[in-house]
């Protein structure tokens, strides 16, 4: 099964890497630095909630969170077993990495589905 889905995993790795490269810096700069440090006023709850009402925003957030998680899973898996020479733990590492990404994706989907 692993061999059959490997091309798909590489595709998600590169799609996630591209999403993270193009969109994470601006989101991270605003949310992680500019808002908490007071350089810019953070958006109000009402305005973000209004944005979330739009289906395009929900699709955007789903892609924005899920694909980079798969990017991490794939890259980190190879970092672990090449970098730390853990080749004997291949299967366990793969299950943990992709499992975490699937879990994060499921949580994102659930939250997006249950927005009041």
């Amino acid at each position: 099964m692993m061999r059959r889905i490997t091309p798909l995993l590489w595709l998600m790795f590169s799609a996630g890497g591209t999403v993270a490269a193009l969109l994470f810096p601006v989101h991270f700069f605003l949310t992680g630095l500019a808002f908490p440090l007071g350089w810019l006023e953070p958006p109000s709850y009402e305005s973000l909630h209004r944005l979330l009402m739009h289906p395009v925003t929900r699709l955007y957030l789903f892609v924005l969170i899920s694909l980079p998680l798969f990017h991490w899973a794939h890259r980190f898996r190879y970092t672990l077993y090449d970098g730390l020479q853990l080749k004997h733990l291949t299967e366990l590492i793969a299950v943990l990495c992709y499992g975490a990404a699937v879990l994060g994706t499921a949580m994102t989907a659930y939250l997006l589905w249950t927005i009041p």
């Binding site: 193009l22 810096p25 989101h27 605003l30 949310t31 908490p36 969170i65 970092t79």
Partner: protein
Amino acid sequence: MSTEPHYTLYHPRWYRRRVSVWWWLQNRSYTAFVLRELTSVFVAFFALVYLWQLRALVHGPEAYAQFLARLKTPRVLALDTVAFLFVLFHAITWFNLTPKAMVVRLRGKRAPDWVIVGLNYAAWLVLSGVVAFVLLRGR
């Protein structure tokens, strides 16, 4: 490996130099390689921050206010600063690698690397502007 290797006749002797766990600090390009590989951890970290924000938004205004307050604590700010630099490093190395991973041909000729890299940076600039505009519009 055991300290007393047991050699049998006709069996080749393995020669393996012990490699330190810190091998990647001896050479700048090795260091850059390992740091680049580690960016994925910080990419996942930010995905989780966004998931956390989404959860706060689903739970209501108090949860969102609490989320914003948590981001202001010094420990989270320090972590966010480091993680932001790694995410930036990911973006730059990712854009610079694209022409090597994807060869684009125009009228039978290979498009020069700088064109593809330049288009990446242009898309980055435009998308960042759009995201900032949408997020900052409703304050």
